[in-house]
């Protein structure tokens, strides 16, 4: 009888430990997948912004005299972004594209006809909205990474994180390229 009861207690203990382990495992998987999703959600907006580039070029082209080199650079960046497969590469191209778009909108101030175009204004607003959303999602990504990093470093989660080979992830930081302000080039 004593052995049976001891067995029951051991079973209860094992059930509690296994239940706890499953809960920790599920939370870690959730945090990991959520971090991937947060990055993928930035990617979606970058793609949306890239998709607006042909329309922008089309509208700008209609106004003769606009700097051709800026538009060519923008086209090349879009193609590079769509062909890029690595995350780091995509982020680098996206940052460059953001700079190029700023240049286009800055230069457009020299073309009153372009400024008064409804289509151009709509595009400008749309791209600006996407830029804001990208900034929000970068912030959200960093929050997600913070939760993930904390999650995998807590005890006893750290044991499971080690077994699952979940390592610390890096925050999205402002690149050196972004920190440098070269002014608007005409």
């Amino acid at each position: 009888m004593e052995n049976l009861l001891a067995l029951l207690i051991v079973v209860a203990l094992v059930v509690a430990l296994v239940g706890g382990a499953i809960a920790i495992y599920n939370r870690l998987v959730f945090l990991n997948n959520n971090t991937d999703k947060a990055f993928a959600n930035i990617d979606v907006l970058l793609k949306q912004r890239a998709d607006e580039i042909p329309n922008l070029i089309e509208v700008v082209k209609q106004h003769t005299g606009f700097e051709q080199s800026v538009l060519e650079k923008l086209t090349k960046l879009r193609t590079d972004f769509l062909n890029a497969t690595q995350s780091d590469e995509k982020v680098a191209i996206a940052n460059e594209t953001a700079g190029a778009l700023k240049t286009v909108f800055a230069v457009s101030e020299n073309y009153p006809e372009l400024q008064s175009s409804q289509a151009f204004n709509n595009l400008q607003n749309r791209v600006s909205g996407i830029e804001d959303a990208i900034a929000d999602r970068r912030e959200l990504f960093n929050e997600t990474v913070a939760l993930y990093n904390t999650g995998i470093q807590e005890f006893p989660n750290v044991i499971f994180a080690g077994m699952l080979r979940y390592n610390k992830r890096n925050f999205l930081q402002i690149t050196e390229q972004e920190k440098v302000y070269n002014g608007v080039k005409f």
């Binding site: 029951l8 207690i9 059930v15 509690a16 945090l31 959520n34 999703k37």
Partner: protein, 403 residues
Amino acid sequence: MEDLYNSIMQQEVDAALLICALVVSLIVAFFHYMIFTGLYKINLGNFFFAVYPLLLVVLYFIQPQFMLIGIGGLFVLTFPMVLLGIIIIAPALGIRERVNYQNKQQELARITNKNAQYLKPAKKKNWIWELLKSLFFIACFFGSFAVLGFFGPILLIVLTAIIGKKRSGSSLMKLQKSLPTSKIRSVAMGLAEIQGKIIIDEALTSRVKCKRCAGYYYLIQEISHDDDGKEQLSTIHTDFLYNPFFLEDETGRIKVIPDKLQLLHFSEYSYRSNGKKYTEYVLEEDDKLYLMIGKASIENNKPVFVYDENKRILSITPTTAVEKHDQAMYYLSKARPYIIAFLLWAAFILSSDIRVTSSGVSVSPHRYLNKNFGIFKNNKSEKEEQVINDNSDEAIYAEPVEN
């Protein structure tokens, strides 16, 4: 047993003894009547009081001494009847009654609800399964005590608390710990957490306070009192009505489609009248910030916030409630290791064999641990142990565990 039978059979039984036995049988019948009606919930008719005397008379005419065996048997039967009633029957009936009541309430809530189609079908509980679970817990409780002494039940309670902790708390409170808060203008499709103020789209009027609101959850409860005078509330009607509304933060607003919306920790407005309590929880437009978890989706090319079928959640709660919850959890998580360590240590001491002798204090673990686990094994031989026991007159204080 045979000696007892022989001695009874040698007794002289006359009419006076028969009358005494009949009186005693009426008293026993009264006790049995109370047990049957009180513990077994079996309503016996008044004819029950005639059964025992009749039985004794029949036995008397068969063999006068059988009447003595009969009255003795009926008297002794009282004890197993009481034990069986207290340990098994009464808890079983109580559980059955409670489970049936809960099932009826769930069904009533589903039927009386205008938006019943959004409610999950009530999962009916099985009272036999509930009883088995209770019996299993009782068996574990006493069993663990028998095996490990005080250490057992405390270990059991700690384990139950650990397992119970996982089940407690809403999905919202658990998920909000793992989800960052999205800005509304850039909320990504899928499971998301947002925070903002409620903005009414199409206003409703609440039932109790007649407040302008986006929706309300309303319930009527019947007030009753138990034997101890403690107030009990039983829900006799529930009703909710939510219109779509907006949640707005500094970046924008999103429309919330409130199908299967769950309100958590909302302020209660209520009044009592004619033995009933009327309560409502209101989705009102105020200065409070609210936290929502659900699924961001697209409807008519516009982002909307809806019920997440995968995580089964569309919940809203005041941000202050989340802050309070997180603060409480923080203090609990800090205190938990110390509480568990204290309980385990206290249990170990209580279940150990502590002896204070002139030569010092000796602490040996519980006999079960001593017998089965190497690290607790006592190196003293049984003979040496006997010597210690023989010298126990030196003991100032001894609290041996059953040996």
